[in-house]
Symmetry: C2
């Protein structure tokens, strides 16, 4: 980012995230939109633990992707935006290694600061 | 609820909540849709503390309403629904006693179990 560019608004970040998620580019979302000190919070019952820091969060994403044997389908909603936060609904129909086929449905909340995502949190 | 009625789905509860919120009937949302053991979670910096139990959550809502001198406007988005959770964006333009006029923007996440809201959480 040069000094002449303005930081992306929450709506800008939300639009870009939705665009990339619908193309299946989860890694690009994190690479491009996540802040270095991002925190990623999973519910207590999640098979994947929460993570802090961009590298750890990207490893967490990779660990989740590695659990998937076959992706059958999925969806990513438009975002609703409120101040520095936005949220989306996500579904994933996939066959997981060892666990078999499952339909995941969740709500994701993202926090934006100075044009970057500084936290995400998942509800399922 | 009689034994012949099915519990409302997450989408049903979301639709009813949005309908009532747009009519400004916050108290009715809690009365009608909240479970007895609901938890309501505010961020650490909120002027209103978190609350547990329907009575305490309704008192929390009343305490917030009592802080408002004049409501100038506001909005409540459609819900995005993912499994047992849904979320909405809310804005409120109001003059608060002592604090003056403020524009609040937030994301609200609701958790549904057996047709009732068992938790809400606010992000701002």
């Amino acid at each position: 980012m040069t000094t002449t560019q303005k930081a992306m608004t929450t709506q800008d970040v939300a639009n870009r995230l939705v665009e990339l998620m619908r193309m299946g580019q989860v890694q690009q979302v994190q690479e491009e939109l996540y802040a270095d000190d991002v925190t990623s919070t999973e519910p207590a019952h999640s098979p994947i633990p929460s993570a802090t820091g961009k590298n750890a969060v990207m490893q967490k994403g990779a660990a989740f992707a590695a659990m998937i044997e076959t992706r059958h389908g999925g969806s990513f909603s438009d975002a609703v935006v409120g101040g520095r936060y936005f949220s989306c609904a996500m579904t994933l129909d996939a066959t997981f290694k060892e666990k078999g086929r499952m339909n995941l449905e969740e709500i994701c909340v993202f926090e934006v600061k100075e044009g970057k995502i500084v936290s995400d949190q998942f509800f399922f």
